[in-house]
C-alpha cells in the first residue's frame, strides 16, 4: 500500500500542463492580447500561483496546528510534513491570490484575470484530486464492511502486499475530480463573465462540503473537519454577498439564511454519523439535498442580480 509518487508526479505535471493551456486560451481571448503577452501572463499566473499556494497552505497549517509548531519548532514541524498535511483550502486561496497578483503585475484588472483563469484553476484542482488516487488511503472514504464496488466508485487497497488481504474504499478522489471538471465546464461555458471565478469556486466548495465528510483522511480539529468548515465559510460568504449586493430586492438574505440553517443541519448530521446508528445513506442523502438547495438558491440569486443589473443599465 505504498504511495506511487511517480504516477502522482506525472498526473500533477499533466494537470499543470493542462492548466497552463487553458489559462493561455483564456488569456488569449482578452481583446487585444498578443500571444506573447498571454504566454507571459500564463507563466506568471502559474509561478505566482504555486508560490502563494505554498505560502498560504503553510500559513493555514500554522493556524490549525499552532500548538504543535510552538512545541516542535518551525523548522522541525515543516520538515516533517507529508502531502496529506497540506490544507487544500489554503493552497486554493494562495493560488487565487497568486493569479490575482499576476494580473496586477501585468497591469490587468485582477477580477477579470481570475474570471479568465477559472476554468484552468478548476482543471488543476481536478488533476490534483485524481492524483490522490496514487496516495493510498488519502483520497478515499469509508465503505460498510465487506462492501465490494468496482472502480471508479471504489478502490481496492492491498494491505498484505500479496493480494491476500484487500479493503475496499470509496473513491472520493474520483468524485471530487469529477465535480471539479464539472466546475471547469461551467467556467468554460460562462466565458469569463463577471463572477465566473467566484461561482466556479462556489461549485467546488459546495460539493467539497459533502465529499470532505466522506473522506477517511481529513485535517480535523477534534471532530471538526477543517476543510469542510473552510469550504462552508466560502459558500456562506458568497450567499451573503448576494444579500448585500441585492439592495431593494425581496428576500435578498434568504440564501444566506438558508446557508446558516444548512450549516446547523450539517453539524447535526456529522454528529449523527459519529454518535448514532442512523443509516449513513440516509444522512448523506439529506446532506446532498440540503447542499443542492443551496446551489439552487445561489443560482436564483445570481439570476436576480443579473436581472437587476440589466434593469439598472437599461434605466
Amino acid at each position: 500500500m505504498e504511495n506511487n509518487m511517480t504516477a502522482y508526479s506525472w498526473m500533477m505535471a499533466g494537470g499543470v500542463a493542462g492548466c497552463a493551456a487553458l489559462a493561455y486560451a483564456g488569456a488569449r481571448k482578452r481583446p487585444g492580447a498578443s500571444a506573447g503577452k498571454a504566454a507571459a501572463l500564463t507563466a506568471l499566473e502559474i509561478l505566482l500561483g504555486f508560490v502563494f499556494a505554498a505560502l498560504c497552505a503553510a500559513a493555514a497549517l500554522l493556524l490549525i496546528r499552532f500548538r504543535n509548531v510552538e512545541a516542535v519548532g518551525f523548522e522541525k514541524f515543516f520538515s516533517g510534513l507529508t502531502l496529506e498535511d497540506v490544507p487544500f483550502f489554503g493552497a486554493v486561496a494562495g493560488f487565487t491570490l497568486g493569479v490575482y497578483l499576476a494580473g496586477k503585475c501585468m497591469k490587468l484588472p485582477g477580477t477579470d484575470t481570475l474570471n479568465r483563469f477559472a476554468a484552468a484553476g478548476a482543471f488543476l484542482i481536478a488533476a490534483a484530486r485524481f492524483a490522490e488516487g496514487f496516495l493510498g488511503l488519502f483520497g478515499t472514504g469509508e465503505l460498510p464492511e465487506d462492501t465490494v464496488l468496482p472502480f471508479p466508485l471504489a478502490v481496492a487497497i492491498d494491505f498484505s502486499g500479496d493480494g491476500s488481504y484487500v479493503e475496499y474504499y470509496l473513491a472520493v478522489f474520483m468524485f471530487e475530480g469529477i465535480a471539479a471538471l464539472a466546475a471547469m465546464v461551467f467556467a468554460l461555458r460562462k466565458n469569463a463573465e463577471p463572477d465566473t471565478f467566484l461561482r466556479t469556486l462556489f461549485i467546488i466548495c459546495l460539493t467539497q462540503v459533502f465529499f470532505e465528510s466522506l473522506r477517511t483522511t481529513s485535517i480535523a480539529w477534534l471532530f471538526v473537519k477543517v476543510e469542510q468548515l473552510a469550504c462552508f465559510l466560502y459558500v456562506e460568504a458568497v450567499l451573503l454577498r448576494y444579500g448585500l449586493k441585492g439592495k431593494g430586492q425581496k428576500n435578498r438574505f434568504l440564501p444566506a439564511i438558508a446557508g446558516l440553517v444548512v450549516c446547523g443541519l450539517i453539524v447535526a448530521e456529522e454528529f449523527a454519523l459519529d454518535k448514532t446508528n442512523l443509516p449513513h445513506w440516509l444522512i448523506y442523502t439529506c446532506m446532498a439535498a440540503e447542499l443542492a438547495l443551496l446551489g439552487y438558491l445561489e443560482h436564483k440569486a445570481h439570476l436576480r442580480m443579473v436581472a437587476a443589473a440589466g434593469e439598472k443599465s437599461g434605466a
Binding site: N68, E84, G136, F159
Partner: protein
C-alpha cells in the same frame, strides 16, 4: 545439589525451546501477526495457541452500575503486543478508520483503540508518540501521565509530576521503549491505586475526557510478566474511579493500569468481531487513528 540445578536448567531450556516451536518473535514494524486458526463465534470465550491466550468476558455488574467487558491476555513474547496506525504508515496521519478494520489487517486476536495519537486539539496536541520502536513525536503534554512499554513488554507509568520533557523516554531501566502512550491518567501505578481526588481532577485527563462523567472508557493494564488486561465499560459509561475499582475487582494484584481513549472510540475487537456494546444502542463504530493489539506468533500450518 549442583547436578540437580544443572538438570533443572536443562529442563527449563527444553521447555522453553518446545514452547517456541513454530513461533517466532514478531518484527518491530507495522506488519501483523500470524493468522489465527479459528473463526469468531459469539459463545467462543477463549482463543489459545502455543503463543497466545486470550480470554474474554462480559460482566453485567450491579455493584459498579454498568456492564463491563474485559480480556485477559497472555503472550509468549513481548513483540506480540503491538500497535498500528489507521493508514498503516504513520502514527501522526490524519487518517481514521474503525478499530475492526485495522484489527483484521494485522490478524489481531484482540485489538482495542489506542490513545488517538493524531488528535490535534486541546491538551492532546503535543503528546509523546513512540510506536513499534519508532519515535514519531518528541514532545510531551506536561499534565498527562505517560505509559511506556519496554522491549520485555513491561509497563512503566511516568507520572505527570515528573519532568516529562527532560526525561529520557526512549529507554527505561536500561531497556528500550517500544511503545508509548499519553492519554491517562494512570489508575494504578506500581501496585498503588490512584485516589479519587486525583482521578477526578480534569487537569490530569485529556480535554473532553470528563473523568467524573459516565463515559465509555478503555483501560489497559499489566497483570504479570507478559500478561495483560484490557477493560472497557458499556455505552452508558463509568467514572474513572469506577474503572479503577473494576480493574482491581478483576485483578487485585494489578501493577499498572492506564486509561486510553474512550467515549465512542471505545472498541474491543476479538477475532475480527467487535465485542463491546453488542446489541446495545452504542452508536456507530467511530473511526480512530490507532490501535493496540495482541497477535499470535504461531506461524505453524
Amino acid at each position: 545439589m549442583k547436578r540437580i540445578a544443572a538438570c533443572l536448567f536443562i529442563l527449563l531450556l527444553l521447555v522453553s525451546s518446545a514452547d517456541a516451536e513454530g513461533a517466532r518473535k514478531l518484527p518491530m514494524d507495522l506488519t501483523g501477526g500470524a493468522p489465527y486458526k479459528v473463526k469468531y463465534k459469539s459463545d467462543l470465550e477463549v482463543y489459545e495457541d502455543p503463543t497466545i491466550r486470550v480470554e474474554r468476558h462480559r460482566v453485567p455488574s450491579k455493584e459498579f452500575g454498568c456492564t463491563y467487558y474485559y480480556a485477559l491476555i497472555t503472550v509468549a513474547d513481548a513483540s506480540q503486543l503491538r500497535t498500528l496506525p489507521a493508514d498503516n504508515k504513520n502514527f501522526l496521519s490524519n487518517t481514521r478508520v474503525p478499530v475492526i478494520k485495522m484489527a483484521k489487517r494485522v490478524n489481531a486476536v484482540l485489538a482495542i483503540n489506542g490513545d488517538f495519537t493524531a488528535a490535534f486539539s486541546g491538551n492532546k496536541s503535543n503528546t509523546f508518540v513512540l510506536r513499534q520502536g519508532e519515535l514519531y513525536r518528541d514532545t510531551v503534554e506536561p499534565g498527562l501521565d505517560l505509559l511506556l512499554i519496554d522491549e520485555d513488554g513491561d509497563f512503566h507509568i511516568i507520572p505527570r509530576e515528573e519532568d516529562l520533557e527532560a526525561l529520557d523516554k526512549t529507554t527505561v531501566d536500561g531497556k528500550r521503549v517500544v511503545n508509548a502512550f499519553q492519554f491517562g491518567p494512570a489508575l494504578i501505578k506500581d501496585g498503588v491505586p490512584a485516589d479519587d481526588e486525583s482521578l477526578l481532577d480534569q487537569t490530569h485527563s485529556p480535554t473532553y475526557a470528563g473523568p467524573h462523567q459516565l463515559n465509555q472508557r478503555m483501560i489497559i493494564a499489566q497483570v504479570g510478566p507478559l500478561q495483560y488486561l484490557t477493560v472497557c465499560c458499556a455505552h452508558y459509561g463509568a467514572t474513572l474511579p469506577t474503572m479503577r475499582d473494576i480493574v482491581l475487582e478483576i485483578a487485585p494484584d494489578c501493577r499498572n493500569a492506564y486509561t486510553l481513549d474512550g467515549g465512542d472510540s471505545t472498541q474491543m475487537v476479538f477475532l475480527g468481531t467487535k465485542i463491546n456494546n453488542v446489541n446495545e444502542d452504542g452508536g456507530a463504530d467511530r473511526k480512530v487513528t490507532d490501535i493496540i493489539y495482541f497477535a499470535s506468533a504461531n506461524f505453524e500450518e
